[in-house]
Symmetry: C2
Subunit: 292 residues, 2 copies
């Protein structure tokens, strides 16, 4: 069993991005600039955005944090999106989700210029990804593909089973892995809450991707010997054993599943660290105008 | 075994559309207007487009056929697309594919205003479909969903296996059937040319959709008893038994597979007739501004 070290891989990629940025600066080009829009004071969102901004500094990006209170109107937010679309100094930006209920997330996402949509949530980026065209791919699926690629895990002709059909993880990763690409060319099955015989399906998986947010859902008897297991779950549960008072739990019962695997990602330290790095990579691509 | 009669269903839907159009006209609204752009003289394309125009007349649409010779430049074609985008009298239009090699199909498709993209090929319509947002869904997958719906075939919790990962059939239908919708909520597996053990997978299918364009690929031993089989294949092979000199062949060996099925679509007369009807339905939706 080999552990897939997302933390180390993410650190390697950050170094690569930092190097690329320093070369850009040497060539007289401007640093890539990521802007993040944060509405309200949700604890999770604040932490994510703070980490994104910190990581921008680490790799040498310019970064801007734009904050609104919970009572911002949809019009005000859309006006800011339009301003960022126009701002030539901003290469890419994100609007941290979720948004307050009185604001349409779809409307805000569709207002973002696809060329600056480094979260890859705009329908046009999803559609281009689906067509195999250059596109910003959202962070988690991009991170999973990167891990599979860097660990030289063979995917062609393998059966990949994805548990979860979310728009930001399950669906896009299922598409990416079944495309004529490398990594890719998997036979892919998407399971979800309405799949009755889920263990019969997961036991067929050469590559099993769990992305449902249900702690410990995948047990040893659901996994084939020698499978590659990618755990996307990150559910915070209270814990009296950590300083923070909580502990992250994956969708996989690691201790009993890991011995059966050829490769497995831990939680934390697997897919999680790759997510922010994928956003940085998209920002670098935006700065270099490599997608559009 | 029940035959799924696509020809009859398509005729029913055409009548429904014709009725909707006559109501629009009674209310003083203009008739939906479909324009079709045809480049060159490919026999297949000429027939398809001629049928589309004829069917427009049948249901009371206005239709316009715009022809270019093979040597049209990309700029000229893009200028026509722009003109159709601007033309308020045109509700929807299609550019018949394939295009000559010197023209980028992606560029032309992305130039079409998504609001008039009744073929549903624009990345933004694919992305919106993926997100479960209102979108023009391309004709063949929309036709398949319509048949499943009109025959009241249960999909929730069923295992659907799609053979083929094309952007216009396999991929979109696999997404639609796995979504939280009705029809939908299937566990979906996408197989393709790189799937090694394809019969092991297809034998698990409660619903089997064959969309690879390989005549007679699906044999009786690849199908579970009681399965629903949807045959999307339409390969023309020479024949001395028909007036036209050719015969359409599906991807399924109908004679040996049909007795095992609960439902099956024939070729011809199954999915094929639904395809043009789906385009008409999209044009009606465009005329009524129901998607955007």
């Amino acid at each position: 069993m080999q552990l897939i070290d997302g933390k180390q891989t993410a650190a390697d990629i950050k170094q690569e991005i930092a190097l690329a940025v320093s070369l850009m600066v040497q060539e007289g080009k401007k640093r890539p600039h990521l802007a993040a829009v944060l509405v309200g004071h949700d604890g999770g969102s604040e932490t994510y955005v703070a980490n994104k901004v910190k990581d921008c500094e680490t790799v040498g990006f310019q970064s801007t944090l734009i904050r609104f209170e919970d009572n911002v109107t949809e019009e005000e937010l859309l006006a800011k999106v339009d301003e960022l679309n126009q701002d030539e100094n901003v290469d890419g930006f994100i609007v941290q989700l979720p948004l307050p209920r009185h604001i349409s997330e779809n409307k805000v996402i569709e207002a973002i210029d696809p060329k600056k949509d480094v979260d890859g949530f705009h329908p046009i980026n999803l559609g281009r990804m689906m067509l195999g065209m250059p596109a910003f791919v959202s962070a988690t699926p991009a991170g999973i593909i990167e891990l599979i690629s860097r660990y030289n895990i063979e995917t062609a002709g393998k059966h990949c089973v994805v548990i979860g059909r979310s728009n930001i993880v399950g669906r896009p990763v299922s598409i990416l892995l079944s495309q004529k690409a490398k990594p890719g060319n998997c036979t892919v099955t998407v399971c979800h809450s309405r799949t009755p015989n889920i263990a019969d399906i997961t036991r067929q998986a050469d590559i099993l991707i769990a992305a449902i947010g249900s702690p410990g859902f995948v047990k040893a008897d659901m996994v084939k010997d020698g499978a590659v297991v990618i755990d996307v779950g990150t559910t915070r549960l209270p814990s009296d054993k950590t300083k923070t008072g909580y502990k992250l739990h994956g969708d996989v019962l690691f201790d009993e599943v890991a011995p059966k695997c050829s490769y497995i990602t831990p939680v934390p330290g697997g897919v999680g660290p790759m997510t922010i790095v994928s956003l940085l990579k998209n920002t670098l691509l935006a700065g270099r105008k490599e997608i559009y």
